[in-house]
Amino acid sequence: MASQSDLTRARVRSAWLFLTPMLFVLALVAGWPLLRTIWFGFTDAKLSAPGLYKFVGLSNYLTYVDGRWLGLLANKIWWLSVWNTVWFSIVSVILETVLGTIVALVLNANFKGRAIVRAAVLIPWAIPTIVSAKMWLWMLNDQFGILNHILMNLHIISSPIAWTANSSTAMWAVIMVDVWKTTPFMALLILAALQMMPSDCYEAAKVDGIHPVKVFFRVTLPLIRPALMVAVVFRALDALRIFDLIYVLTSGSRDTISMSGFARLQLIDFAKTGLGSAASTSLFLVIAIITILAMTIGKVRVSEDAAK
C-alpha cells in the first residue's frame, strides 16, 4: 500500500510539472497584462512615455476639476459606446438565436441534399471577420453596391442609401453583417442539441395529432433550452467585446463605436494609456459579472439535476 501512495504522490508531482509551462504562459499572456491594465487605469500613463507615470487614484474614472466632472464616467462618448454595445448585443443575439433555431430545425429535417445545405450554412462561419466586413462594405457601397441596386430595381427605395455612413442605418448594417456571420455558430449548437433529443417525444405528439408549432413550443423548446442558454451566453459575451467588424465597416464612427473600440481609441490613437485602461477595466468588469452570473445560474441547474 505504501508504494501505491508513493506512486500517487509521484503522479501529483509530475502533474504539476506538466502544468507549469502552460500556467507560466497563461500568466504571461493573460494574468500579468490584465493586472497591469487594471493598474494603468489608476495612473496618468501615456503611450508616448512608458515608465513615466504616477498614481492618480480614481481620476481616470471620475474627478471634479474647476467645477466640471471629468473622467470616464463623465465622458459622453463612453456612455454612447456602452449604449451602442448593449443595443448591438441584445438585437444581434436575439436575431441570431431566432434565425439559428430556424436553420437548425431545417437542418434537422430529413431531406435530399441536407449535407450540401449544411455545408453552405457553414460558409459564413469560415470567412474571416475582416473579409466578411469588406465583402459587405462593397455590397453596401452607396454608389456601386449591389444591395442599393437590387432595392432600387424592386422600387423598395427611390434613391441610394449610404448604409454604413448614415447615422440611422450604420448600426443596422453592423447588426446585419454580424447576424450573417454568426448565425451558423448558433444553428450548429442548436442542431447538436436537437439531434440528442429522444425521438419518442415527437412520435407521441404526432400520434396525438398536435400542431407542429405547438410541439415546438411545448416539447422541443423546453428540451433544448439548456443548450440554447449556453449558446446565447457564449454569443452575448462575444458580442459585448466586438471590435473588428465595427472598425472596418464604419471606421468606428460615433453611431457605432463599441466599448472595445472606445478603449482602443483612447489607448492607441489618443495615446491615453490611463483613460484607455480604465475603459478596458470597466468592460472587463461587465463581462466578468455576466460570466459569474451565468456560471452560478448554470451550476445551480446542474445541482438541481443531481438532486433529482
Partner: protein
Amino acid sequence: MTRILKPIGFWLLVAVIVVYAVFPFYYAVLTSMRSGQALFDPSLLPNSFDFSNYVGVFQQQPFALNILNSIIVAVTVVVISLFLGVTAAYALGRVHFAGRGLLLITILAVSMFPQVAVLSGMYEVIRLLGLYNTMPALMLSNLILTLPFTVWVLTTFMKELPRELEEAAFVDGASPWTVVRRVFLPLMWPALVTTGLLAFIAAWNEFLFALTFSPDNRTVPVAISSMTGASQQELPWGNIMAGSVIVTLPLIVLVLIFQRKIVAGLTAGAVKG
C-alpha cells in the same frame, strides 16, 4: 392544398437559407474577376473572367509577405498551444489533485476575457521584450485566444479515455512523459486535429492584436483592412476582393472537409463549458 404548399414552403425556406449564406462570398468572387469599368457592373451572373486583380494584389501590395506572416504566426501558435495543451490536459484530465477544479474554472474564465482588457498590459510586455512590429509579438498575444480552449477541449477528451491504458504502462515503469507521448498522443489525433484547426482559424483571423502590436509588419486581416489604391478615396475593390478570396478559399475547403469534427469541437467547448 396544404399537401402541395407545405413542401413548396419548405424548399423555398431551404433556398432562402442557401442563397443568404452563400451569396456574399459568391458576389466577392464575381467582383474579384472584374476590373476597370466592369467592376461597377451590377450583373449577378459571371460575365467576365479577368484575373488581373489576382495578379495586381501581389504586385501592388506586399500580399505574399502578408500571407507568409499569417502562416508563420498561425502555425507557431497552433504548435505551442497543442504542446502546452496536451501536457496540461494530461495533468488536469488524468491526475486527481487539490485545486484542479479551481484551475479548470480559471482557464475557462480566461477564454471569456475581452481582448482589449489585456491590451495596454500586453503592449508594455511586448515593448519590454523588444517585439513591437514583429511576428513573435503576435505569436505571444494570440496564445490568450487559443490556449484556454485547447486545454479545455483536450482535457475533456483525455478524461474519457479508459484508465487501464496508462496503468499498464506505469506498472512497466514508464515515466509520465513517456506515457503521454507513447500512450495518449496516438489516441488523441482526432482531438488534436479539431483543436489545432480551431486554433489555426482563430490565429489566422485575429485582428485587434495584429493591428495594435504589428501595424506595419502586417498579417492578412490587417493588410486587407488597410488596402488603399492610387488615391485614398478610391478603394481598390477588385484587389481587396481578390485578396479576400485567396485567403478565404483554403479556410472554406478545410472547414468543409473537417465539418463534422469542427461541429463536435465547438459543441464540446460550448456545451461542456
